[in-house]
Structures are given as structure tokens and as C-alpha cells.
């Protein structure tokens, strides 16, 4: 018999948090309120609570990951809305769409079972996305990441990340199928490196690191050719050093990471502003609405973590890290329990994606590692980011169920 109190308690705490913080933010923005905003805000509340409920009815799998993500998006939306009502509304809309996308991808994964056989399709799709970006892309913040179509801009790279996970899952789960090609491992590595190279050309170093990380992690677990792993790490090191020597923008990133203070008014501006915000926050923060996150560039995006730490304190910052840690733990647990190799690797890849991305961006804004242009999944503002994160989460949710319907080989 389930203990009802326990089961519903997190949901209730979340609801309480959302209610209190939303009321506070609405009070903060009382001068520019309109019915639409209030309606959307409470709409999100309903959507989140409802989605958690529906999921518990629908799925036999892990219920914690969606719960954790619900808390993450709540903290994020509160901060974004506090920074700008415009962005807040947009994010609200994307979150609702995202939840829908979550159920969509969940159903697709659980109901449809031919995902394993689409290897060539994935490869083609990945390269097309890259081509699209290079041909049609705009340069934003120094990187060619974005494509604008009819007023909406999106980042194809976010989708390519997921395709990468599918590619690797196909490859490693049906490894024997590839045995007829000699050096299949190295061909795969070549393909992945071509992706990373393309990302480098786009100047999207952060995503390149994530691609590298996901590939290396899965390769470490699944590659029978241990030489390939060493080759990978070796090439990575050489590549890294070459990049440092050849590319100025890499050099700049490393210099401003080691000591940003001499460059405080140009190259080091972003990271120092981030540090000021984090220092200002102290343990419990300055209080919502009482700090100055707007002093940080991209306060709603790459630096959302710093903004949150400023107004809600180091304790909340640590809380967010802990939430990601639990999410990653659950993801790995899901993978371990999954009997089907394909879905297992899918789960691992997606968890790696979430884990590495959050590690890299939080590490970057706190100056533990050099800064890269990445978003904090679920928390940062950004339609494509939210969408792709929820789609990935849906896949993970699907992989958390005992998928008894796959063919027995």
C-alpha cells in the first residue's frame, strides 16, 4: 500500500514553492500586470501539477525525474520572470509546449519500436542539421548557432545532441552488425570527430565539449577496442592543445578563466560580473527582486545560475546542483534496470547529456572551469533548450519502463 502522504508530499512542497514565489514576483511586477500574465502563471502551475499526476497514472517507470525537473523549471521560470516579464511569458509558453513534447516523445519511444533500425537516417539527419546551420545560420554571441525562420530562432545543435545519442545507441547495441566493416570503432570515432569539427567551425565550443563527453563516456563503457578509447583521449588532448595555440578565442577563454581580474572591463567582464553576483548572494540570497542580476550579461540564459545564487543564495545554488545530481543518479539507475541494450544506452546517453551540460555550465559561471556558451537544462531561458531537454526527458522516461515488447534476439 503506498503511503499517500509521502507520495504526494514533494508535489505539495513544489506547489507551495511555486505559489509563494509566483505571488512574490507578481507583487514585484504589480505595476505592469495584466490578466494574461496571471492566467499563464497559474496555468503553468496547473500544467505542472497535472502533468505529474497524469504521469503517475500513465507510466510504470520512474516518477522522480519529472518531479525533479518540475522543481528545476519552477526555480528557473521564477528567476526569468523576475528579470523580464517578456522573457518570462515566452519561457512560460515554451515550458507548456515542452511538457507536451515530453509526453509526445515518451509515447513515441514506448509505443514505437523501430528506433533501433534507423541508423543511417540519424547520420543523415545530423549532417543535414549541421549543413542547415552553416548555410542558413546567424552569428549570435560569437557563435553560429542559430537559425531564424519566420521570426522564431532555434538552435539545431540542441536537436543534434539527441540524434547523437541515438546514433551511438544504435551503434553500440548492434555492434556485431558492424563487424563486417573493419575498424568500425574508428569509423564511428571519425564521424563523431567530424561533428565536433563542424561545431568548432560554428564556434560552439560548449556543445562540442558535450558531444565529446557523451561519446567518450559511452565509448568507455561499450567499446570492446580499448585502444580506441586511448586514441580518443589522445586525440582530444592533442586537439585541445592545438586549439589553444591556433585559435585566439580559445586562448582568451583560458586566460580569463585563470585570472579574469586584469581583463575586468573587457574579456573578463562576464565572468567577473557573475562572481560579483554570487558573492552578493551570501547564504540565503538578497531576496527575490532585491538583488541586481541585470548587471550580469545573459543573466537569464548562460548565467541564470549566478542570478539565482544572487537572489536566492548559495544554499539554493547548491540545491540546484543536488537536484541535478539526483537526476543523474536516477538516469543511471534507469539504465542499469533496463534489459534492452538499445534503450539502456539511450538512457545513459541522455543522462550523460544532462549531467555534463549542467556540470560544464555551472562550473563555468563559478570559474571552476573555463566559461562556455551552454544553457542550464530546464532552468535557463530558451525555447530550443527547453524543448530539446523535455524531448530528451521523455525518451528517458520511456526507457525507465520495462519495455517487454522488443524482439528477443
Amino acid at each position: 500500500m503506498k503511503n499517500l502522504m509521502d507520495g504526494r508530499l514533494p508535489r505539495r512542497l513544489l506547489l507551495l514553492f511555486e505559489l509563494m514565489s509566483m505571488s512574490l514576483i507578481l507583487l514585484y511586477r504589480r505595476d505592469s500586470l495584466d490578466i494574461k500574465t496571471v492566467a499563464l502563471a497559474f496555468g503553468l502551475l496547473v500544467v505542472v501539477y497535472g502533468a505529474n499526476y497524469i504521469l503517475s497514472r500513465l507510466s510504470d517507470g520512474d516518477l522522480y525525474i519529472f518531479l525533479i525537473v518540475s522543481m528545476l523549471i519552477s526555480i528557473g521560470i521564477i528567476m526569468i520572470f523576475r528579470i523580464s516579464s517578456d522573457l518570462g511569458l515566452k519561457q512560460l509558453m515554451w515550458l507548456v509546449i515542452g511538457v507536451g513534447a515530453f509526453f509526445g516523445s515518451y509515447l513515441m519511444i514506448t509505443k514505437i519500436s523501430f528506433w533501433e533500425s534507423l541508423f543511417p537516417v540519424y547520420i543523415a539527419a545530423a549532417y543535414s542539421f549541421f549543413a542547415m546551420t552553416l548555410l542558413l545560420g546567424d552569428r549570435k554571441h560569437g557563435a553560429i548557432n542559430w537559425i531564424s525562420i519566420g521570426g522564431i530562432s532555434f538552435q539545431p545543435a540542441e536537436m543534434t545532441k539527441i540524434i547523437l545519442v541515438f546514433i551511438l545507441a544504435c551503434f553500440y547495441s548492434s555492434r556485431d552488425k558492424f563487424n563486417k566493416y573493419k575498424y568500425a570503432d574508428y569509423w564511428m570515432m571519425g564521424v563523431i570527430y567530424s561533428f565536433i569539427g563542424l561545431l568548432f567551425i560554428q564556434r560552439d565550443l560548449g556543445t562540442a565539449m558535450i558531444f565529446m563527453g557523451i561519446f567518450t563516456g559511452l565509448q568507455y563503457i561499450y567499446s570492446n577496442d580499448r585502444m580506441a578509447i586511448r586514441a580518443n583521449l589522445g586525440l582530444f588532448t592533442i586537439g585541445g592543445i592545438t586549439a589553444y595555440i591556433l585559435f585566439d578565442h580559445v586562448k582568451v577563454r583560458i586566460m580569463t578563466w585563470l585570472n579574469p581580474w586584469p581583463y575586468i572591463d573587457n574579456k573578463g567582464y562576464q565572468i567577473t560580473q557573475s562572481l560579483f553576483a554570487i558573492a552578493e548572494g551570501s547564504y540565503f540570497g538578497t531576496g527575490l527582486g532585491r538583488g541586481n542580476p541585470s548587471f550580469i550579461p545573459l543573466s537569464y540564459n548562460d548565467f541564470i545560475f549566478s542570478s539565482i545564487t544572487e537572489e536566492m543564495g548559495v544554499f539554493t545554488g547548491i540545491g540546484i546542483i543536488m537536484l541535478f545530481m539526483i537526476l543523474v543518479y536516477r538516469g543511471f539507475k534507469i539504465a542499469l534496470k533496463q534489459d534492452s541494450k538499445f534503450y539502456r544506452i539511450l538512457a545513459l546517453g541522455i543522462t550523460l547529456m544532462f549531467g555534463l551540460q549542467s556540470l560544464v555550465i555551472i562550473g563555468g559561471v563559478t570559474k571552476v572551469i573555463p566559461l562556455t556558451g551552454l544553457t542550464l537544462p530546464f532552468v535557463s531561458y530558451g525555447g530550443t533548450s527547453v524543448l530539446s531537454s523535455f524531448i530528451a526527458l521523455g525518451i528517458l522516461q520511456g526507457a525507465s519502463e520495462k519495455l517487454t515488447r522488443e524482439e528477443i534476439r
Binding site: M1, D6, P10, L27, I75, F284, G319, I326, T404, I408
Partner: protein, 143 residues
């Protein structure tokens, strides 16, 4: 006014967030503990005889019987079987002192124990075969 609320709330928010985290951790921990104890180790249980992958719905291969349990299509039951031949509230197994009894709750298609249609409540003995719809279970009670 706003400032005052914001200052008071910031402490509350941290408390809520950490309560949230710890409740989740605790729930996960309890789940692990429950899962670690295999139903087949403790006392009586029902073991599924059909092949799992021949069934179009979710079923476990064993269900532990601790005390009174209900079985049926509705989610309110302890054992939920989403089979159209299983009634919403199909049967009940109760424990009286050390003995287990099975009782049909007025189901449309009936419950068969050892191929006999169950009319009244009957005592379950180790090795009894229980059939509901397409499903066949064996009642195991090692005591």
C-alpha cells in the same frame, strides 16, 4: 512591504527546496529497500505461470501477499491487472491467522481455483492454481 516579504520568503524558499530534496532522497531510499526484498523470500506469494511477453499488458512475475490484498482492473486494487476479462474488483485474498483465503467479489468472468469455479470463499493451499481471465497464478506458501 515587498522588501519585507522578499527577505522573509528567501529563508522559507531555501527550507522548502531542501525539504523537497530530502523527501525525494528518502523516497528513493525506501524504494531501494523495498525492492531489495524480493517478494519471493517472505511468506506467501502468487507466481505468474504465463509467459510475460505473451501478454499485452503490464504484469509482474510475482506478487507478495502480506495480509489482505485485492485484485482487479481498477487502479485502486493492490494488484492491478489491466485485462478486459478481469473485472474492476475481481477477487480478494485475506489472511486469517496463518491461513490464506480467496474470495471472488462478483466478477463477470469468475475466478477458477484448480480449474473449479470459485463460489464461496475458499482456503488456499500451497500449490493451488488460480486462473482469472487468461492469467494463471500458482499460490506459494512455504510455511
Amino acid at each position: 512591504m515587498f522588501d519585507l516579504l522578499s527577505i522573509v520568503f528567501k529563508y522559507i524558499f531555501v527550507i522548502i527546496i531542501y525539504m523537497f530534496i530530502f523527501v525525494i532522497i528518502r523516497m528513493i531510499y525506501l524504494d531501494i529497500r523495498a525492492m531489495e526484498s524480493n517478494p519471493e523470500d517472505s511468506g506467501a506469494y502468487l507466481k505468474l505461470l504465463n509467459r510475460l511477453d505473451s501478454l499485452p499488458y503490464r504484469v509482474r512475475d510475482s506478487y507478495s501477499l502480506k495480509g489482505t490484498i485485492s485484485l482487479g482492473r481498477s487502479s485502486e486494487n493492490d494488484i492491478v491487472i489491466k485485462d478486459p476479462f478481469v473485472s474492476k474488483r475481481h477477487l480478494m485474498i485475506t489472511k486469517d491467522e496463518e491461513e490464506y483465503f480467496i474470495e471472488d467479489l462478483g466478477s463477470s468472468n469468475g475466478t477458477y481455483v484448480n480449474k473449479q469455479l470459485l463460489v464461496d470463499a475458499a482456503k488456499l493451499v500451497n500449490g493451488d492454481i488460480i486462473k482469472i481471465g487468461d492469467l494463471e497464478f500458482i499460490f506459494v506458501n512455504r510455511r
